[in-house]
């Protein structure tokens, strides 16, 4: 990137970064899947850095240089800041961690740059004397005439103490800096935690100055050499290193002037040298913008994981309910529905007694016809119909229950699904009024069958057979034929209870004709399967809604990529 020469370029980049920030902030990562924690952390960290640093810096190129003094707890950051300023602005002490609310020291002329929420918008501004009560959600603004205009020094909380809020804030403030003044000590300079941060700074090209504080004079050279080699390893070889020996502090708790001199002078020179200052800002800003690709990539990957998890969860549900639909289809064609009660009722219906059952069914029909003629109404077909209805309803209910429990079980085996189920425990059982809805489906299906019989039998109404059985009787027979034949394609499939269905088929064929019966049976069958599929879609919807309630937009990934692309193009 070059220094934004034209106002227009700067404005475009600013807009693009704001756009990326907004997209990132709106990015939802609600599911606890693999990589979600890192993605969330990275998202928050990037949003913070854009808000705290990149956006304000792009908006105001000539704002003062924000130097953050950061490092381990007990490294002497506050003492260092106080000594640079020449006054006690930040409390130093032996208790760790000492500083939990950051202190920002500025020249009175620079105050307008920092008093509003241009930088660090997440932190409140406190001014005046410290009341000792440190609120970690605010930054205390201190004016010091001893600082050159154009330089602001922030005393940050530590990055490695037991107080986690401090650690997070310390890291966030470092990300908001134009330049780090990284403070470490003789005992600390090889610690793992600060080096993780320094490695990141090195990789991103952040401007860093290192202060080796509290060094026993005898060990000065050895430690300095060792530190320099470590810095070089982390691409920070050009970072200036200042050594501040362990000395007795003056009565105000400040370092003697000659000890702090080199660092102080270097900082003040930097602030007053327009060109060097711009170079420092440039380097850090470029690094931050360059790193966006990789960091947003982490978030995008997290978003991908979320979408995949959701797709996986929905597939599990789909499979469970597909299985249920297949179960119903099989139950309808393998004759199970015709056993048991249906068979018994059917026998009662066509044959009534053991003696007559031995005789030809023709005799039964004859008798039925006579009784129909005498009583003026057909033989009650209702018990058979009811038995069939109960059977079909039970089949649909049992499969719905199995599907709900299967889907819930599969979800339980999935980290994201487990959390969802904990929020929606009712998913494991079928929807509340399932039984009623199934009954309604079966009833609707039956009336549709009766309608079909009525329409088809318009011309045959007057035939003796039709009259004998009536619409209801024929409808029931059609149901029997439906459950016994596989879609009417292979004709009467004689199963265990096939005899009864075959008889029904024979009667139907006699009334409607061969072809028409098959077509009717197929239509009846398909209609029931369709109604069942609708019902199962409703059931499945409970799961889908639970997923949708997460409010995860589908296009998060694309929006992130597009926003990132916008930033890239604007540079």
């Amino acid at each position: 990137m070059t220094t934004p020469t034209s106002q227009l370029d700067a404005e475009r980049l600013h807009q693009a970064v704001v756009g990326l920030r907004d997209v990132l902030r709106a990015t939802e990562l609600p599911l606890d899947v693999r990589g979600a924690a890192e993605a969330r952390e990275e998202r928050d960290a990037v949003v913070n850095q854009l808000d705290d640093y990149v956006i304000p810096r792009l908006a105001a190129w000539d704002a003062p240089l924000l130097t953050v003094v950061g490092g381990s707890t007990g490294a002497g950051k506050s003492t260092l800041v106080n000594s640079i300023v020449g006054d006690v602005v930040s409390r130093a002490g032996v208790l760790r961690p000492t500083t939990s609310a950051p202190v920002l020291v500025v020249n009175p002329d620079d105050r307008p740059w920092f008093i509003d929420d241009r930088v660090l918008p997440g932190l409140a501004r406190a001014t005046g004397a410290s009341d000792g009560d440190q609120d970690p959600n605010s930054v205390r603004l201190v004016e010091a005439a001893s600082l050159t205009p154009g330089l602001a020094i922030l005393d940050a909380p530590d990055i490695d103490s037991v107080v986690s809020r401090n650690r997070d804030l310390g890291a966030q403030l470092l990300a908001a800096a134009d330049m780090w003044v990284f403070v470490t000590t003789a005992a600390r300079y090889a610690d793992a935690v600060p080096w993780d941060l320094l490695a990141t700074a090195g990789a991103r090209g952040t401007s860093v100055a290192v202060v080796l504080d509290r060094i026993p004079p005898a060990a000065q050279d050895e430690i300095r050499r060792h530190l320099a080699s470590m810095l070089a390893e982390h691409r920070l070889g050009d970072a200036p290193v200042f050594v501040v020996p362990e000395v007795t502090l003056d009565p105000r708790g400040l370092l003697p002037g000659d000890r702090i001199g080199p660092l102080r002078d270097w900082l003040l020179d930097l602030a007053s040298d327009q060109q060097r200052r711009a170079a420092v800002v440039q380097r850090t800003l470029t690094g931050a913008l360059d790193a966006l690709g990789e960091r947003v990539g982490v978030v995008t990957a997290g978003v991908g994981e979320q979408s995949e998890a959701i797709a996986a969860l929905l597939t599990e549900v789909q499979e469970a309910y597909d299985g249920a639909a297949a179960g119903v289809e099989q139950g309808m064609s393998d004759g199970t529905l015709l056993r048991g009660e249906v068979l018994a009722r059917w026998q009662e219906y066509v044959g009534t007694s053991e003696v007559f059952r031995q005789l030809e069914s023709a005799l039964a029909r004859l008798r039925d016809r006579i009784s129909a003629a005498l009583t003026g109404k057909p033989q009650p077909a209702r018990p058979v119909g009811e038995a069939l209805q109960t059977g079909a309803a039970a089949l649909i209910i049992a499969n719905a229950e199995a599907a709900a429990s299967t889907a819930a079980r599969r979800w339980r085996g999935h980290p994201a699904g487990e959390a969802l189920l904990a929020d929606h425990p009712e998913l494991a059982a079928p929807g509340g009024d399932l039984e009623e809805r199934v009954q309604r489906v079966v009833r609707d299906w039956q009336s549709m069958i009766f309608d079909m019989v009525r329409t088809e039998g318009k011309d045959k109404r007057s035939t003796a057979r039709f009259m004998a059985y009536g619409v209801n009787g024929i409808g029931v027979m059609l149901m029997l034929a439906t459950f016994a034949s596989t879609g009417g394609l292979t004709g009467a499939e004689v199963g265990i209870a096939g005899g009864s269905a075959a008889l029904a088929q024979k009667v139907l064929e006699a009334i409607f004709g061969d072809q028409a019966v098959r077509a009717l049976a197929r239509r009846a069958r398909e209609d029931l399967l369709e109604r069942t599929a609708e019902l199962y879609a409703d059931e499945r919807g409970r799961f889908t809604r639970a997923v949708e309630a997460l409010g995860l937009p589908d296009d998060q990934g694309e929006r992130l990529v597009a926003a990132l692309d916008g930033v890239r193009r604007a540079r």
């Binding site: 208790l95 760790r96 490695d160 005992a187 060990a219 430690i223 048991g340 079909a392 049992a398 339980r412």
Partner: protein, 550 residues
């Protein structure tokens, strides 16, 4: 969790108690098997293994590990204990990357050091009555520098040390690494925790006291019950005597190893305890009754009962019906025979044959309807839910799985057999016999009347001069016999039929009770028992864990 408070007052453990607790925990993990998360099982295994290993090694020695932050001055303290420059010291960080051991006393600790896998050993010249006799002091690498192998070495040794001496300094005493990654996870072994605040000479004495208080607060926050902090300076020698006295006391008591092991076992037991619930779910009569009802439906018991009732009526008709219409019943099939239930098993005759018959007995009961099957599924699921109530999810899943797996063909077979094996009671009530005799009498009356007329007719035909037939008033006796026989027979038959109907219903109820018991037994064996076995496992894990917690 349980009993956190009582630990401080606990008596000193003995090796046998530690070994028993380890065995108990190992058993608990084995019983729990895959219903306990892998990491908890691993933790239990590690703690139990270490307990066994350490108790088999020297009980006379106490392994004290000097662990801490880089630059904290571990090696300086080590050297001060040894009384010579055994460990390398310096200003470059980190310095120590290999563990150095020093052994006090005349006893050799070779096995112990081999187990610790510390090749760099220093023998301190034995002094008579040395209070440190039996001490194995280890100078560990740091755990917070960027040299990650140091951390790995420190972690390895810390797993096996008996007493931890955490070394820190005024700069680093509040570091997250030490508190969050080291002290807090080992807080259960708090009897084994001493913290040394070294370099205390670098701050003013008042500041040092303030820091000490703050450090004690942090340690309590970490969960260390009775933290001990010693302020030292390896340079001035301050505090080293106090530290030496503390170490000497621990070494002299010779129970630091056991305390450490107990701490670890307790921590593992605590983790294990969190994977089980405090109480076991109970399968109430509600779930059981519902299951029995559903199984009765699935076993086709209603069909059986219908047959039983019909059979009763049919046989009653055979015995008590009007003699002239009894033959009619043969037109109808024997309802029990149709279901292949009435096989006339001779009771208590040949035990072996009955067994064989039971094995092959398959009834021809109708297949359960989808509704009945769904009811069984639902009932079994309810048993699973009742059995999973209040259990942690892994146990709850295991219970539900077990319940659902039980509704298989085996259950259906067992139901069929239970129904087939139940004697349906074909004994003949006494009143049937009496009524039978009566019916024969009525029949005989009719036959007698007809015969009388027949004789009269024959005599008449043969032109015998027949005396007038005997009369009651104007009605001839044979006519009275016939009419009375018919009326009495028919009326009595219908009364008997009504009584038999009542008897049939009573028999139905009795058989239903018996079948219901038989089906309940099947449910108990095939559904309830496996589920209760899982619940029993759960209880066993908790008991074993509590036993280990002591």
């Amino acid at each position: 969790m349980h009993g956190m408070g009582r630990r401080a007052e606990d008596a000193v453990p003995d090796a046998a108690g530690i070994i028993a607790a380890a065995a108990s925990l190992r058993d608990a993990a084995a019983v729990g098997a895959d219903r306990i998360p892998d990491d908890v099982r691993r933790q239990v295994e590690i703690a139990a293994d270490r307990a066994d290993e350490r108790t088999s090694l020297s009980a006379l020695h106490t392994v004290v590990a000097l662990a801490g932050v880089t630059g904290g001055g571990k090696s300086s303290i080590f050297n001060a204990f040894v009384g010579g420059d055994v460990a390398e010291t310096g200003v470059r960080r980190p310095i120590t990357s290999q563990t150095q051991a020093a052994v006090w006393g005349s006893e050799l600790a070779g096995d112990l050091l081999d187990w610790l896998d510390v090749p760099r050993r220093h023998r301190v010249d034995p002094v008579p009555d040395d209070p440190l006799s039996g001490l194995v002091l280890l100078d560990l690498p740091d755990f917070d520098s960027r040299v990650t192998t140091n951390r790995a070495e420190a972690d390895r040794i810390l797993e096996r040390a008996d007493l931890f001496v955490w070394v820190t300094d005024p700069q680093k005493y509040a570091d997250a690494v030490m508190h969050d990654d080291y002290v807090a996870p080992r807080a259960a072994a708090s009897e084994s925790t001493v913290v040394v605040l070294n370099h205390s000479d670098t701050v003013a004495p008042d500041d040092a006291r303030t820091i000490e208080q703050d450090l004690l607060r942090l340690l309590r926050d970490d969960g260390v019950a009775n933290p001990r902090v010693v302020l030292t300076s390896a340079i001035t020698g301050a505090g080293l005597d106090e530290l030496r006295a503390i170490v000497a006391e621990v070494v002299g008591a010779r129970h630091a190893a056991l305390l450490r092991l107990r701490g670890d076992l307790r921590q593992a037991a605590g983790a294990l305890e969190r994977t089980v619930a405090d109480v076991d779910p109970v399968l109430g009569p509600d779930a059981r009754n519902r299951l029995t009802e559903a199984l009765l439906g699935a076993a086709g018991v209603d069909a059986v009962l219908d047959a039983v009732e019909a059979d009763h009526r049919r046989r009653a008709l055979g015995r008590t019906g009007w003699v002239f219409t009894r033959w009619f019943r043969h037109l109808r099939a024997d309802p029990l025979r149709r279901l292949r239930l009435n096989r006339g098993r001779p009771e208590g005759t040949d035990e072996a044959r009955r067994e064989l018959e039971m094995l092959v007995a398959r009834t021809s009961l109708p297949e359960p309807t989808p509704a009945a099957r769904a009811a069984v599924d639902l009932a079994v699921r309810r048993v699973g839910e009742a059995g999973a109530e209040g259990l942690p999810s892994r146990w709850a899943d295991a219970v539900r799985d077990t319940a659902m797996a039980s509704a298989d063909d085996g259950l259906r077979d067992a139901l069929d057999r239970a129904v087939a094996a139940e004697p349906l009671g074909v004994r003949v009530p006494i009143w049937w016999r009496a009524a039978g005799v009566l019916q024969w009498v009525f029949g005989a009356l009719v036959v007698g009347g007809i015969a009388w007329y027949a004789v009269l007719a024959l005599l008449d035909l043969l032109r015998f001069d027949t005396a007038d037939v005997a009369r009651f008033d104007a009605v001839p006796y044979p006519f009275i016999m016939i009419v009375a026989g018919v009326i009495l027979g028919v009326v009595f038959a219908s009364v008997a039929r009504a009584v038999a109907g009542v008897g049939g219903r009573r028999r139905r109820r009795r058989i239903r009770r018996r079948l219901s018991d038989a089906v309940a037994r099947v449910g108990q064996a095939h559904v309830i028992a496996p589920v209760e076995a899982v619940i029993a496992d759960h209880a066993r894990v908790r008991e074993l864990t509590r036993a280990a917690l002591g």
